[in-house]
Amino acid sequence: MPVLKAGSRLRSQVDTTEVIVVRAPADDLDLRIGGHPVVDQTQTPVAGLTATGGAEAALVGKRYTRAGDDLEILVTKGGTAGLALGDEPLVLKESKPLPASD
């Protein structure tokens, strides 16, 4: 299980989904995509795995979190599978307000 650290780039083992960790607590977290643990972006997935789990497909450019908001995962490449911690699907974060100026 790769450690979730701010800046870690991770990929799915069952589809094209890739993510980057924006923020994570110090605990060990079982981040899964399509029911299987994520791997480091540079790693080759285990062959022959298929997606399981009910989470909705993660949308590219969107941020996902869990209750408590101590975790933030940004999807950098979309796919068909969803994000979960163990069996618990992550939830989509609402867009933040626009700034007053740039």
């Binding site: 650290k5 701010a6 800046g7 780039r9 980057i20 960790v21 924006v22 923020r23 590219v60 450019g61 941020r63 933030e72 940004l74 950098t76 609402e94 867009s95 933040k96 307000p97 626009l98 700034p99 007053a100 100026s101 740039d102």
Partner: protein
């Protein structure tokens, strides 16, 4: 010469046989003296040092565009006269901002040196600041800018910008040698119709902040009815900025607020868009698609779609703000040692707004059916790379708290004038003030 450049931009819209515009009113004859008089130069340079020159003929080119905006608006509606200096300095003057060197006037963008070049990074939103630990892959320390600057200094400019952008944070490599590119790509979405007048034309403005609303303001001046559409959950953040500036941009426009999270709200949005003669948006194409909006399907016959993005619709994931987009186009000043400084206040914003208005005016004159894919960085590059047109030396001196710029060719001196604040004549509508009335009419 700059008028000819504007005609080359317009040729794909108006056709090659279109009549040439009148030669624009000469300003001083020296683009640097014009820059000094405009209010923009006072916003450029180190705060405790001399104001700095722009790399291109910003004011003369803006004047050439303004001349064309005037002729096109007068031909099909009310004549719009733009005040280039006011366009560039309005926001900073309204908010009381001054020059800050490599930091933007608004404070959200900074130029940071990398190993092999310079990067412009904007931390304008809470999410941008929150992304810094992930960019630096560690604790950035108490000042996120300091940690970010260290990470940039240790990397190649292109490589670190790619990493920063991966986190959705606007970042660009400062283009040290910008090349002339047209500010838009023209895409035909449907057949042309007989060109309509601007009186009673409907402009639906989905954009926020500065560039898109400025375009809407110009079209409103030509006679169009402008409807600004905002999300109830995410209204235009500029409403929280200086009210004079917001009123100046939006006074006289109808305001519609829709809840995009409901199917009813999204259906109302599509209905409005399908009724529009001009749609102005500055969204990622993906965000529009998520709302069920598709320019290819939803633009009415003869309509013009103005799509403003940082880098064009071919780079749909790269967000930009006015200062980092200007830097991406090489529209930066230089200090005595050649280090880049940000130019004026979010310079790519007002330039893009005026260019977008020019495109909308020309597109409607040509019978519409067009999407103009306008990239803020390309607009900036167009201004940075245009021929400067004055070969003289331009020394600057200070006296009695003021700065004076001299053009040795013209043998003239110009005091560096402060930016001018806008004088709105009408207050902007409160968010959603016209929702029911506008929806009942379309």
């Amino acid at each position: 010469m700059l008028a000819a450049l504007v005609e080359r931009w317009l040729a794909p819209i108006l056709g090659a046989g279109a009549p040439l515009a009148d030669v624009p009113e000469p300003l001083s004859g020296c683009p640097h003296l014009d820059w000094a008089a405009s209010g923009a130069m006072a916003l450029t340079g180190e705060p405790d040092g001399a104001p700095a020159l722009a790399p291109g003929p910003v004011l003369p080119l803006l004047a050439a565009i303004s001349t064309r905006v005037e002729t096109l608006s007068a031909a099909a509606g009310s004549r719009v006269r733009l005040d280039p200096g006011l366009l560039l300095g309005a926001r900073a003057a309204a908010a009381g901002l001054g020059r800050r060197g490599a930091v933007s006037a608004g404070g959200a963008t900074r130029l940071l040196p990398a190993r092999d070049g310079w990067c412009a990074v904007s931390l304008a939103r809470p999410d941008d600041l929150a992304a810094v630990p992930a960019i630096v892959q560690g604790d950035p320390g108490p000042d996120p800018w300091e940690g970010l600057a260290d990470a940039v200094a240790a990397s190649g400019a292109a490589e670190i910008c790619e990493r920063i952008r991966l986190l959705g944070v606007p970042a660009s490599v400062v283009d040290a040698a910008p090349t002339a590119v047209p500010p838009w790509r023209v895409e035909r979405l449907g057949p042309t119709v007989e060109a309509g007048a601007w009186e009673d034309a409907l402009v639906v403005d989905l954009s926020a902040l500065w560039a898109g609303p400025l375009c809407a303001r110009v079209l409103g001046g030509a006679g169009a009815r402008v409807v600004k559409v905002e999300s109830t959950r995410r209204p235009d953040g500029a409403r929280d900025g200086d009210p004079r500036f917001y009123d100046w941009l939006h006074g006289g426009h109808d305001s519609v607020s829709l809840d995009f999270s409901t199917e009813a709200g999204r259906a109302d949005l599509r209905r409005l868009i399908r009724a529009a003669d001009v749609v102005i948006e500055a969204s990622r194409p993906r965000a529009l698609a998520a709302l069920g909006v598709d320019p290819h399907r939803d633009l009415r016959p003869g309509g013009v779609w103005i799509g403003i993005t940082g880098y064009g619709r071919r780079h749909p994931d790269r967000v930009a703000f006015g200062d980092d987009a200007a830097a991406a186009g090489g529209l930066v000043a230089r200090d005595a040692r050649g280090r880049p400084l940000l130019c004026a206040d979010a310079l790519a914003d007002p330039l893009t707004g005026v260019v977008a208005a020019l495109g909308a005016l020309a597109g409607r004159a040509a019978g519409g059916g067009l999407l103009l894919d306008i990239a803020m960085a390309d607009v900036a590059a167009g201004f940075a790379s245009a021929p400067i047109g004055c070969g003289g030396a331009h020394p600057i001196r200070s006296e009695g708290g003021d700065w004076y710029l001299t053009c040795t060719t013209l043998r003239r001196e110009q005091r560096v004038l402060p930016p001018r604040a806008p004088r709105p004549t009408r207050a902007a509508a409160l968010g959603g003030a016209h929702t029911a009335a506008v929806l009942a009419a379309v």
